[in-house]
């Protein structure tokens, strides 16, 4: 099911997306795929637009990132996007692809039917084309102090952890901070100025459950706030859109449970 609202919905006219350029079909292509890609250049003096590209699937790699690189190399060098590792570990190429957020490098072209619509991460301010401004969400990440905090004197070697305690980090330490979940969270769309969002809260949980960390109480104090934590209404978009298969909603549920448990 596609989104049921028109593309230009709401009163924020600066964010409306105009029809863009339709780039020519490549000559001699056997199987073409249509890509509709969000374009915005602050220096053009114009608002965002949706350009249409036709890609020869026969001479393109399997992933959406391959198509983006092909467009940049062969059709339109001005197309701007972040990418680095091309194997799902750096988190740079997260974007809205076919109505959900995923890493362009791990999203197969053939798994999407029809024309493939690509937008920057939902509700992030746009810097250029598919590159978003992450300053706000990174500042929120700093609030939860994502590092080991200890009171005890540092040991001679490493801070040790039992295998049982290490297992508690599974499903949480793998987060690559691509912010697919945060971009897909309706609560973050409406209250992102104060709500920390699923990615940051999952990171918060990762440090709360770390047996080596000694600031658990302080961390929970930081989160005990109507907006920072409790704007999560378990909509589950975060868990569904995580390209690493993690469960931010579960991490948030666990934090809420810990806040209740410590009152008794």
């Amino acid at each position: 099911m596609r989104a049921f609202l028109p593309l230009n919905f709401g009163t924020d006219t600066a964010s409306w997306v105009a029809k863009g350029k339709i780039w020519n079909t490549p000559a001699g292509a056997k199987a073409t795929r249509v890509f509709e890609i969000y374009r915005y250049d602050s220096e053009s003096g114009r608002g965002p637009r949706l350009d249409v590209y036709h890609i020869d699937r026969g001479s393109c790699g399997p992933m959406v990132l391959d198509a983006l690189i092909k467009i940049k190399n062969e059709i339109d060098p001005t197309l701007t996007f972040r990418r680095s590792c091309r194997e799902g570990v750096c988190g740079s190429c997260s974007m809205s692809i076919g109505g959900r957020n995923w890493l362009a490098c791990t999203q197969r072209i053939d798994d999407i039917e029809g024309s493939i619509r690509i937008f920057p991460l939902n509700h992030f301010p746009v810097k250029k084309d598919l590159v978003v401004d992450q300053r706000h969400v990174l500042a929120q990440h700093q609030i939860i102090q994502p590092w080991l905090k200890t009171a005890k004197p540092a040991p001679e070697g490493e801070w040790l952890q039992s295998p049982e305690d290490r297992v508690k980090l599974d499903g949480y330490y793998e987060c690559i901070l691509c912010f697919s979940c945060t971009g897909g969270c309706p609560s973050y769309w409406w209250n992102g100025d104060r709500y920390l969002g699923p990615a940051v809260l999952l990171q918060a949980y990762r440090w709360i459950v770390d047996s080596r960390d000694e600031a658990t109480g302080q961390r929970l104090d930081t989160l005990e706030d109507p907006f920072r934590l409790y704007r999560c209404h378990t909509i589950m978009n975060c868990t569904k859109t995580c390209p690493k298969g993690l469960e931010p909603a579960k991490a948030i549920a666990r934090i809420k449970a810990m806040l209740v448990a410590r009152q008794h």
Binding site: L5, S15, V17, S96, G99, P120, N122, P125, P186
Partner: protein, 132 residues
Amino acid sequence: MTGTAAPTPRIPIAPHMQVYRPTLTMVMSIMHRLTGTALYAGTVVFVWWLVAVAAGRVAYETFLDVFGSVPGLVVLFGLTWAVLHHALGGIRHLIWDVGRAHTYPWREYLARANLIGSLTLSATLWVVFYPW
């Protein structure tokens, strides 16, 4: 003073609700809110009924005339569904809040059970208790 300040550029926000593919759990979240809101209006109906019972035969017959009519019955059935849907939604949220059923496909089953359960229960109650 030299020159004029450039107008502050209005940075666009990437499209969100307009382009996000609706998910079942997302729609269920909206329905939980809608049924919750509908229950506020439903409370007025309930209070009307209580007052009508207390006020006597004439007032009660007026209530019966309004809610015995076809539009009235539709409202009452809608309220039955809203109560049950919201109640089952509350249980769904309790299950998620204790950390269960977050994985695929259980989260989808839970959302579907909420919807199918509320519709089935409402229909059953009316079939059983309404003097057809």
